[in-house]
Amino acid sequence: MVRAAIEVIKPRTAEDLATTLGEAAAGGKAVTAVGGGRAAGMGGSLHRCDVELHTGGLDRVIEHSPADMVVSVEAGITLEALQVHLAKSGQFLPLDPFNSPGHTIGGLLATGWTGPLRMRYGSPRDFLIGIRVALPDGRLASAGGRVVKNVSGYDLMKLHLGAMGSLGVIVAASFKVFPQPLHDVTVESHDGWPAVDAVLAAPVAPSAIELFSDGRVIARFFGSPDAVNSTVKTLGWPGTDREAWTQHSHRAADRWARIAVPRTKLREVLNALPQGSRWWASPGVGIAHWAFDDEAAVITARTFAESAGGSLVLMFAPDQVKEKVGAWGSPPPTLEVMRRLKEAFDPKHILNPGRYVI
């Protein structure tokens, strides 16, 4: 890829973005959308990139209705800016991805990154209620809406979420947002898996629980004060500062991978990593992030993850590592069906060529 030839365009409106995309596509140019760049290392190396569409100019909160607990934003707004806006009404979006701060909403949706709060709130799959996408033919198309429950038409939100921009460029999104918890307590242990098992068996499930490779565990409880306090008391762990979660969200590595397996298989997959590996995990969800050293270990770990019914995906790695082990691993058995959808949205394959599995 000859980087010097890349044309960088920073549209100010969704319409401009769509027009630019349409023109580029008509000219056979390959286009990559760029948000905050925090997940730019994810996926295969681009085969081609002629135009970079930066979404930073699309950073407005389009509409926030606190009474309805619904917000619509442009794709280029950062997660932090959105949280500041929502906090004024005592609300928040339960998304706390790693390698923060600086993720844009569009980037988070395109990559599907999540964090510890997924345990309680699920992923954007569960609270993304509407989407607007620019397509290579220059159209802007929406799906979903601005209500919290909606089965009107196909759920195209799910199709674009985590699709790495391979079907279109997300320009706006609507979310169901949540009230800030009545009570929010974080506790800590250093007892590793037994501590995790104890928390997960407690009558009040934590909103987040993170296990680190050194045996440290932090757990976060949201809820009514009495219920949270009595749970924490029964657990008997010392409290710790909520700031631990902010620090945790900054975590990343020069070479790191995401392992996602059925929840019950996570332990054995992590046990199979090389001794002394540095990782952190959400055992309530079945996801771990691993700062790996070498390609051979990735290949072995991926074999374990895939045979457990999961995956190992590179989050950031030098191009030569990606080329050697592949960013995604084994293609899904439904690849042929996915390709039919790709053809329907991006027949000329100008969106992020080479980056995703389809």
């Binding site: 209500v147 909606n150 009107s152 009040v204 009514s224």
Partner: protein
Amino acid sequence: MPLPASVIGELKKVAGRDHVITALNDLRIFERDGSIEGAVPDAIVLPSNTEQVAAVIKVAARHNIPIVPRGAGTGLSGGAVTIRGGIALQMTRMRRILEIDPVGQTALVEPGVVNQELSLAAAPHQLFYAPDPSSQKACTIGGNAAENSGGPHCLYYGVTTNHVLGMEVVLADGSVHWVSGDAADRIGLDLCGVLVGSEGTLCAITKVKVRLLRIPPSIATLLAAFPSIDAASQAVSAVIGRGIVPAALEMMDKVTVGAVEAHYRAGYPTDAGAVLLVEVDGVAESTRELMAAIREVLSENQGYAMREAQTPAERDLLWAGRKGAIGALGRIKPNYYLHDGVVPRSKLPQVLSAVGEIGVHYKLPVANVFHAGDGNLHPNILFDLRDRDVLHQVEEAGEEMLHAVVELGGALSGEHGIGLEKSSYMPWIFSPDDLEVMSRVKSALDPNGLLNPGKIFPDPERKKISLAGRTGFAVEAKWW
């Protein structure tokens, strides 16, 4: 139009002689679902396994015959109606619970498993399946997945799509695929997410893997009366505004309460302008604390005659009244036309007053019983099909109500689906470009348009509601 004998022969070869129905009187049983409009299928096939489903679809594809998957037929938008004729693929023989994994908290089921049966089977493991449509005693998991069904407890727990981990599906070419699975963040497009709620237009569902949840140790259920729908709506917003998301937050208007109380004698206050049914669950400390806070908010918003269920039996009775409400409305009129629009919660008072005015204008009684916490209304227009001219009025009134929903920023359907009933209204909320993009998905997966044709997308050739051969017989009011 009857299918050629050779095609019937092929179908019988696939599913067995006894599992292909072609006699007109038998076919009529399958002419409709829970909505108004019907159409008699040309044949019914009752497959017993995935291979048979795939083989039937291949026969249909070879002969270019429409094929419509069907569960219990409780759907409320005409999704299972064979409006273009063809084969109804009746999935209810595939009704085995294949696996319950108490450790992973999942279940693998065939599509014909009845919603409530799954929760009953999971109960010995202290687990339950959360989505609870009011028809849960009859509706199937396959139908729920096809329609992305909701229910009262979806306010807190989410709708069907939030609970389906993966599915085995048969596409229009007869190919069988597993989409998604137990692990988070699987590689590739989220086909499962698109297929759930696709209303039988993209695939037939042959297995569903769902998430099960732990049965909460404590549940508190409160009934509260309000002088008016407006006051009850304000109270709903106030509860949520306090940062409390109850497990369920349901409203019933005076008309509904009257019918429910006459039928169930559950202690609903018949003098009230509206009642709210509020439920919270969790550990005992939490339910106690939340319920105290909710009582306070409701009192501040004109709530009175508040009564908390003291025993599980009392709670069940309150819920029987809510879930059986639509059946109880049969005391007023034998038929109903039920809409399912959703508005931003803060717009509930406006939309409900519009609904009331429309009922008055058309001189049709309207009963409201709905998921207030989600802003998901269910106005029931009550009528008697024996009044020959009434149906047109009912349809117009329903259309006006939906239009009011859309004008307030709402959506056409919260949980019942677009189906046949609302397909012509899709352009109200989606642009031609939006619809064109959705139709690309349809064409990519079903290029010949064989699966459930005539649904979701507006059909310019569509005639107005027909009674599908029912001439003058009142349809018995169904329990719901």
